[in-house]
């Protein structure tokens, strides 16, 4: 095989139709652009109508590949059903799904309540369960079909300051692993555990201050928070042909993590 032809083939997304939820946000839109550039037809869905239309149009312009921006509230089961119908009506198939929608605010560990906990579970966990379930009949028909979950480092480490978000993400992590066990050989399921990524205002809304963010930058082994593209690139790899024997894994994308010691400092 000629040099680089092999690589083009491994990372080609030509002819693949991929849905990304929360697609108007930082990571979702970076992923949509990357997959579009690699040949995919991408459907981004988001609750924010204005942004999802705008982002889809911008990316379609940049990549030259069809990009559909659809409004859907991921916490509404009926809207997810309609979403799947719309995608199938337009493209006739679904080859990949990125359950990327998710958000969580800082809450003191004893400051939450039933409503807040359930609300977080609906957004971060149930949204992915429902949409994956509705997509399965279509995914099963595609070659190298793949589902990736945008999870967080709070989902697999103690995170008392994000009790609603972290417990919902922890549930999402185990859900992905369970799906992987029964999903093969037809569909692969993998998780990315995301570290601190610069997504602009969204982080500030979650309760981080500029000082906190500077401290995070300094503490990360790679000396910077992630770019949305860093995460998009990891998700792309997991969806590619190069990863066709990869399922049920959690890949941490966190700049090498933070220097931290469990021992109290002596000085």
């Amino acid at each position: 095989m000629k040099k680089t032809e092999l690589l083009n083939d491994l990372f080609s997304f030509d002819g693949r139709v991929i849905i990304i939820t929360g697609g108007a946000g930082a990571i979702g839109s970076a992923l949509a652009e990357l997959l579009g550039n690699l040949g995919a037809s991408v459907v981004i869905t988001d609750i924010n109508e204005e942004r999802v239309k705008k982002v889809a149009a911008e990316i379609q312009e940049k990549t030259g590949n069809e990009m559909l921006g659809l409004v859907a509230d991921s916490t509404d089961e009926n809207q997810l059903r309609e979403l799947v119908d719309k995608v199938v009506a337009r493209f006739g198939k679904i080859s990949g799904l990125v359950n990327n929608v998710g958000w969580g605010a800082a809450t003191p560990i004893w400051g939450s309540d039933t409503d807040k906990m359930v609300k977080s579970y609906k957004l971060n966990t149930l949204s992915a369960y429902n949409l994956t379930k509705f997509c399965m009949p279509y995914l099963e028909k595609e070659e190298n079909a793949s589902v990736v979950f945008s999870n967080s480092r709070v989902g697999n480490t103690p995170s008392p300051e994000f009790i609603e978000y972290s417990t919902a993400k922890a549930a999402l992590l185990n859900m992905a692993r369970s799906m992987a066990v029964v999903g093969g050989p037809k569909v692969r399921f993998n998780t990315v555990l995301i570290g601190s990524v610069d997504n602009g205002e969204s982080t500030l809304d979650a309760g981080f201050t500029v000082e906190m963010l500077q401290k995070i930058n300094d503490s990360i082994v790679m000396k910077r928070r992630g770019f949305p593209a860093d995460i998009a690139q990891g998700i792309m790899f997991l969806m590619s042909k190069a990863a066709s024997w990869v399922t049920g894994v959690d890949l941490t994308l966190d700049g090498g993590g933070r220097y931290e010691s469990k021992m109290p400092k002596s000085d």
């Binding site: 040099k3 770019f227 990891g234 190069a242």
Partner: protein, 258 residues
């Protein structure tokens, strides 16, 4: 990052141990496909030479170096030659691993055997990392990829030497990721499940294979290209914010010999 640069290893030099066959060979070939110059090393020089020749045939640059990873002078020589003949070192794939067949008798396994497994699987990877890191630091790009195994996290019968050594390799990698991170050097592991190589063929029977597939969601054993794809991911700029990780490539399951 420009899309064409995600997997671009042009002007990068990769060093691979046990590159003459199996997973090492597949890794050498795919890194060369991405544009890297490759120092293919192996205990068996003719095997390394034929892989280097294959790379040259496809228009790439490669040298073959005889290297027993159990000998310090061989490791030093490998690094010196790679740097001198290919111009720097940016990527290191510690691929050699012995003892994967397991089947040791816990009452009888000798000290020599146990130590030998750790020397080849852990010590050589640590030492080569130490030898290559200064070139990576000075060259402004560094990625170390250690080939571990599912044995590193599974409890497998009669395999304490191999499994223990691979677990040590995982954790050593995570620590080196901390230590080298500030110099722009990333350290990650790829953990293959049962992959069709000579090493596996020597212990595989149809019965074992059937049992392995029963526990594997993606109903096939691994091909060397499944593993080298993950090696490429960690070697290339596409993963520039990823370090200290173990990526298991195992079809979603556990394949055990016994």
């Amino acid at each position: 990052m420009e899309i064409t640069n995600l997997f671009n290893l042009k002007n990068r030099v990769a060093v691979i141990t046990g590159g003459g066959n199996g997973i090492g060979k597949a890794s050498a070939l795919i890194l060369a496909q991405a544009g890297a110059s490759v120092a293919v090393s192996d205990l068996k020089l003719p095997d390394a030479e034929s892989v280097a020749e294959e790379i040259r045939q496809m228009g790439g640059k490669a040298i073959a170096v005889e290297c027993n990873v159990g000998k310090d002078e061989d490791l030093v020589n490998l690094v010196e030659r790679a740097n001198a003949e290919l111009g720097g070192i940016h990527i290191l794939v510690n691929n050699v691993g012995v003892g994967g067949g397991g089947r040791e008798n816990p009452f009888k396994i000798g000290v020599d055997k146990f130590v030998w497994v750790f020397e080849l699987n852990v010590f050589s990877a640590w030492r080569l990392s130490q030898l290559c890191a200064p070139y990576m630091r000075d060259g402004g790009y560094g990625s170390i990829i250690n080939i571990t195994s599912m044995g590193s996290i599974n409890k497998s019968p009669n395999m304490s030497a191999y499994a223990g050594s691979k677990a040590a390799l995982n954790h050593m990698s995570a620590n080196l990721a901390y230590d080298y991170g500030q110099y722009g050097i990333r350290v990650n592991c790829v953990g293959p499940g049962a992959t069709k190589t000579a090493a596996l063929a020597s212990v595989l029977t149809p019965e074992i294979e059937a049992k392995m597939l029963a526990g594997t969601p993606i109903k096939r054993l691994g091909e060397v290209e499944d593993i080298s794809g993950a090696v490429l991911y960690f070697a290339a700029p596409v993963s520039e914010w990823v370090s200290g990780q173990v990526l298991f490539v195992n079809g979603g399951g556990v394949q055990t010999l016994d």
